[in-house]
Symmetry: C2
Subunit: 89 residues, 2 copies
Amino acid sequence: MGYICTMKFLAEIEILPKKGLLDPQGKAVLHGMSQIGLPQVSEVRVGKFITLELDAASEAEAHEAADTASKKLLANLIMESYSIRISQG
Amino acid sequence: MGYICTMKFLAEIEILPKKGLLDPQGKAVLHGMSQIGLPQVSEVRVGKFITLELDAASEAEAHEAADTASKKLLANLIMESYSIRISQG
């Protein structure tokens, strides 16, 4: 039996509604931009930002776990796309 | 009267509940991680990811507009912290 060394990683996952899909929350926030004096904002999209702290043997393994989490639990792949950043935590 | 040249910028804003504050959504997602076979995840925090497309004369001006939007409309500064990335869109 060998030793298994793991390190702490931080996964930062950004999830957005896919382009072309209705984003009513984004539309509502866009409307608010004019009201607070920012008419130069022309489009707003609202999604989720999720951070995970996890143990993994390598950055690649941490990325794979974050990818699994995104696909199975965090993102709705029919309506949303996601991107993952991994750093040592 | 002079010309005013502006460029398109993309502002990406990440908003998270502040450390130490209760994040019930994060706790619920953490519970789900074990159920999908990812017990190596030890902490989850759930926040918002918002993108803005906007016109500005410079990256600094785009950042200032995104900062104003975050402070006045997008983030609840008592409970949340935010960070902004600007790129040319």
